[in-house]
Symmetry: C2
Subunit: 337 residues, 2 copies
């Protein structure tokens, strides 16, 4: 509070300026003010400042599930990237529910966050129009939308799906099932990559075989993967390779496969996606596609910062990381190659 001003025989204005290293202030008074600030342990009320400057120094992040290590990693990296500029991050979870997500967007908007970063579970683009109306910059993370010219930071999902599938093919798999993700850019992209790889396989096109699952947030896909795998194993001719939408799904698949007495990778090779941090420590170390979630988070952070710092709207930008295949035991048949 600014009885500090009174104590020093200054005006609040001067104190305010001193606090912010505002240009026209004499070094002497600045020092004087700063010392008193220190003594009293005063900290300016950021909500008041926000009201007048219109900047809250807060980024809003919406993820489907904080417990999913992929998003936790993004959150962590984002938080770190913006922290140095004194930004905080308001993190909320949509639990993969579009309606809840819309509410969260409204909340963040009401709180006047400086930018919204969102790995959206949305089907339509409507919510984003709302954000645009409020002139709040926003960035799509991980998942993007075809018809929406928005900032995007994520990975090339088609390439990811393709690499994963090609790898399985190169390991000698011929009956390759894809356990697909939701109807979002990530699920769709990886599916497309899977198809591309199969159709251009070396020894002639391989048959497609896609299993859907309904991803719910609470189990992160493990239960779904487990279930899907059960069905697959009940078949007369089970697959010899499975490309899973993500690592949690792969984890569930792995469990089911082992329980049923199949060997990984000898009987069934498994590839995941995301390279979540524990994937190398699973029952059978998991071959997966690394999408560098840390880089995505950091990139999104720096992009958000630049958007906020330059007050005028910047043209939408896409920053897409190249996925990398990480080969581990779960797919290494050594049959071929």
């Amino acid at each position: 509070m600014k009885d500090i001003a009174w104590e020093l025989g200054l005006s609040v204005v001067t104190v305010s300026k001193a606090l912010r290293n505002h240009g026209d202030i004499s070094e002497a008074t600045r020092k004087r003010v700063m010392r008193r600030i220190e003594e009293v342990g005063y900290r300016p009320n950021l909500t008041a400042r926000a009201l007048i400057t219109g900047r809250t120094y807060t980024m809003g992040l919406i993820v489907p599930d904080l417990l999913h290590a992929f998003f936790a990693q993004i959150a962590k990296a984002l938080s770190r990237a913006v922290r140095q500029k004194n930004y905080g991050v308001l993190i909320t979870s949509s639990e993969e529910d579009p309606e809840l997500e819309r509410q969260e967007i409204a909340q963040l908007l009401a709180r006047r966050v400086d930018a919204i970063l969102i790995a959206s579970a949305q089907w339509s683009v409507e919510s984003f129009r709302r954000i645009e109306e409020q002139n709040t910059p926003y960035i799509l993370i991980d998942r993007h939308f075809a018809g929406l010219a928005a900032n995007f930071v994520g990975s090339d999902d088609v390439a990811a799906g393709r690499m994963a599938t090609e790898h399985l093919i190169s390991q000698g798999c011929r009956r390759i099932v894809h356990i697909r993700g939701p109807q979002l850019s990530t699920g769709l992209g990886r599916l497309e990559g899977y198809r591309l790889a199969l159709s251009s396989a070396a020894g002639g096109p391989l048959p497609e075989d896609v299993m859907p699952v309904g991803l719910s947030a609470d189990d992160r896909g493990e239960a779904d993967g487990y279930e899907a795998a059960q069905k697959l194993l009940d078949r007369a001719a089970p697959p010899d390779g499975i490309f899973c939408f993500n690592d949690p799904v792969a984890t569930g698949v792995m469990q089911a496969v082992l329980e049923r007495g199949f060997r990984i990778p000898e009987d069934i090779a498994i590839v995941g996606c995301g390279n979540v941090l524990y994937s190398g420590h699973l029952r059978v170390p998991l071959t997966t596609i690394d999408q560098d979630s840390a880089a995505i988070g950091a990139e999104a952070g720096s992009l958000a910062l630049s958007m906020v710092e330059s007050r005028k709207p910047l043209p939408p930008e896409s920053r897409i990381t190249k996925p990398k295949l990480v080969v581990r035991a779960s797919s290494l048949k050594g049959t071929k190659k």
Copy 2:
């Protein structure tokens, strides 16, 4: 904005009251206002409201590492608990660094969060005095301090350490090493539990054997566990049981042990702590102590809410969950019992 008031021929005051269902407002005008609100898509500016009411409807959460599933789980549960009352959560990470943590506390204080929830990496109690000075309610999570009469939500670490160790003893282990955690209540408590269990072992007291590690946030303990295990395995007589401070450490230990050709649990049994969500899917499914981090997060949330809602200071409260042993393959020798 309240040109809505003007449009309806009302005063801003009336609109404001209508918005908040404030008592004295006629049902008719309330409806009228609400409808207009809807049409325009107006949302009140929460920062302005915060300035005058002094309540930001925001909880501040500080964890050592968001990537550690234990804390991610807490964050998720907390977020869910307070969301229904329209609170948001500002999540920051201290990266296990006391100095950084102090800065984050100052940030949260400056932002005037309604309550601070913190799994502290602090050595001293000084920071908390600061929080108290600002009259901001705060709750310690997971880690508490001997000399501090503060609200605490966490687990009984002594019991956890004891259960883990007793389990190893019951499995026939006689050379049991504890890879200990940091000098905080969690590390200290589990260590004490370990000692208690050894000294009261059925066949007479067993020797203590404690390995320190310096937990850094970035690897969540895996690398530390890996290193510690290497040293252990270099010994002439390696241990036959290892109780690890937490699951990430256990993960690292497991890797080293397997790499060196030892069998788990036949040669070396391993027990972790935390029951992080992937612990059942590790190379060897991990026996661990469940501390129900979801319950901790939810409890902390409801406690925080009750503190905030009742404006007057409540007497400090401790909510301590009872840990549970989760037996999996990593310790199941079947030698005895």
